[in-house]
């Protein structure tokens, strides 16, 4: 039940400003204000970005596109960027990043979610999330952008790496980008060719756009290319060395593309985006890792044998801390990415946005924390 029509939500943003001022200065508690706003409309909040699910559409066997209508707190995004999405499972708030496949002029967004076998978030989004439900969105990130001036563009995607490139492609073609564009999408099987119908329609509509698929899975006879990325797959494209290249996919795929691109000696632009590699399981032997501090913008060399607190201090930092034995929670800090080990229990924590205690957490691999 909405006491307030959805259409009026953007107008509320202005009315909420005095409340926002009071909350920022500690005169009001944000969650209490939000509780009242929620009564007016389920997606109305003071600062948090909530989005209503407007549509669900299967775009491949294992990929679902969600159309979202964010509330007035949404600050906008560019195609090619990815947005943090929060859901709650078993009492724990989980967050995942999804690329924007469309940033509509009407303020609506589209994201596409690929099923991750054994994942905690994607199966829920794919199976359980219904139209009309409300999700929370977080920060928008990502540097990928369309090379407007390039004499031609080559898009190389693997798996769900198609999603940011599709967002860029759709907006570029709609805005009349006239130079040749080729998209090559690597998927395991025929049924995973996400957005295939739409891409073929775009190919028919725009003479400068061409789409190809490569199947990396079982060798079934088909019209598509076969196998993992290789330079031979690009043979049909005459001017490949002049083209700006955008590539997105798993780390190994992106590395292969980078290797090939360096070999061509191309002077054109290369943009890549790789998914975070899955956490490696490590033994107890000492390993060197990178410790990135998001707030102070530092990257430190660290290892997996001592607590984050000790290692930060060894680099001359002075993080807030108390008991140094995991009792008082004074050194609690947010894990941005990576995996840490609770040195008391051996438990591994890998949830982005999770609160960790620096004094009892050791990095398992490269780690970024909000410090």
């Amino acid at each position: 039940m909405n006491l307030l029509p959805t259409a009026l939500l953007p107008a509320c943003a202005l009315l909420l400003r005095p409340l926002r001022y009071l909350v920022a200065r500690g005169w009001l508690r944000e969650s209490d204000v939000d509780a009242w706003l929620r009564l007016l409309h389920p997606a109305l909040r003071l600062n948090r970005v909530l989005a209503r699910v407007c549509a669900r559409e299967w775009v491949a066997e294992d990929m679902l596109a969600l159309t979202l209508q964010p509330n007035g707190n949404w600050r906008g995004a560019q195609p090619g960027q990815h947005v943090q999405l929060y859901i709650e499972r078993d009492g724990v708030r989980l967050s995942r990043s999804y690329s924007l496949t469309r940033v509509g002029a009407d303020g609506r967004l589209q994201i596409a979610i690929k099923r991750q076998a054994g994942g905690r978030v994607s199966p829920y989004l794919l199976e359980c999330l219904a139209v009309g439900e409300v999700l929370e969105l977080g920060t928008v990130q990502g540097e990928l952008h369309w090379p407007q001036q390039a004499p031609g563009v080559l898009l190389l995607a693997a798996g769900s790496g198609i999603t940011p490139l599709l967002g860029l492609l759709r907006s570029a073609l709609a805005q009349g980008f006239a130079a040749p564009v080729t998209l090559l999408h690597y998927v395991r099987e025929q049924g995973q060719r996400a957005f295939a119908d739409e891409l073929q329609a775009l190919q028919a509509q725009y003479s400068n756009f061409q789409v190809r698929w490569a199947l990396t899975g079982a060798e079934t006879p088909s019209a598509e290319l076969q196998g993992r990325f290789t330079a031979e797959h690009l043979q049909g494209i005459g001017d490949v060395a002049q083209r700006a290249v955008l590539s997105c996919g798993p780390a190994s795929f992106v590395a292969a593309v980078q290797h090939w691109w360096q070999g061509t000696g191309s002077q054109a632009e290369l943009q890549v985006e790789a998914f975070t590699p899955p956490p490696l399981s490590v033994g107890s032997e000492r390993r060197e890792v990178q410790l990135s501090l998001a707030r102070s913008r530092q990257v430190l060399s660290a290892h997996n044998q001592a607590s984050l607190l000790e290692q930060a201090e060894a680099h001359g930092l002075r993080p807030a801390h108390g008991c140094r034995q995991g009792i008082c929670a004074s050194c609690t800090c947010t894990l941005v990415s990576g995996v840490v080990r609770d040195m008391r229990s051996g438990a591994r924590l890998a949830e982005p946005g999770q609160a960790i205690r620096l004094c009892i957490s050791a990095p398992e691999g490269d780690v970024e924390i909000e410090l």
């Binding site: 005169w27 969650s31 009492g91 724990v92 108390g322 034995q325 929670a329 609690t332 999770q354």
Partner: protein, 364 residues
Amino acid sequence: MNHRQDRQLSPAELDAFGAELDALRQRTLADLGEADARYIRRIRTAVRFCCWSGRGLLMFGWFPPTWLLGSLLLGLGKILENMELGHNVIHGQYDWMNDPEFAGRSYEWDIAGPSDFWRHTHNHVHHTWTNVLGMDDDVGYGVVRLFPEQRWKPFYRWQPLWVTLQAVLFQYSVAIQHLRLDKVYKGKLSKAEVRPLIKQFNAKLLRQWSKDYLFFPLLALLIGANALAVLAGNVLANLLRNLWTFTVIFCGHFTEQAAVFSKESVVGESRGHWYLRQLRGSSNLNGGPLFHILTGNLSHQIEHHLFPDLPARRYAALAVEVREIAERYGQHYNSGSLWRQFATVLKRIWIYRRPPAEHLPASA
């Protein structure tokens, strides 16, 4: 007056004792989930319901049924907010939820003392150095002598009076603890060092007073209600909360069977020894589920001190196992009814107001 008969534990026994409690902690941690998240949100909603309905009822003026009920509801809301919600959230008990609303490092509670102060004086100092004389300032808060091991000063002669004042003004007593005015007075801490803290304290105090004693009375004036009745209701609610929290907290570590420790005894302390000290220095209160919630589950003070970062709703179940472990290791498990335990605290306040020569038996 302490008659604890605890078995001395060898270092190996201490390690085993610590390992058992660690395992218990792990089992509970692994089990946290939906039910705990739902619980703390329900408490949060109950706090809102009590505070808002209480404030609403106070707008009906001095009419006794609404004024009393309104004040009681507001007081209840503040008690729940301070104890079961604020105190436990600030301990980081719900950090695993990743929900910014229940993040221990940023939660600000509805009480005079800034949460930042509390995170230091309570979470760090008190929980690390529980009942260590000279290190845990919560032992008597500097105004009360509760154990014969504490050095006597003439000031303590009047401590029943100081304690009464402290109970009435408990939220301020907790708040100024972090300012270390005693050290400033003795010149151990410069005024410049304390100034930023005083600024932070004043800012919080201004917000609290503006809300309770200015905004809502003014709102009453504006809608034609009785501002004085609203003001009085707020004073009563804060007073009730102060008295209740004082009672519960003084029962936590100052009962008859609570032990204190010397600075020397904690040098190089192992985890097992730390656990043992928490068990010996804390005391539980018996009661039903509602009583436990109203105390913020500090009625399970022993479990709270063993596992300060586990959600407090788990303490009741943990208590069964902790009691069994304590018995197996020959440790006294200090538990009793609120009134019995509180009576022993009052007895301590009364006895130890006098110098050692007067309260020690003649034969000693």
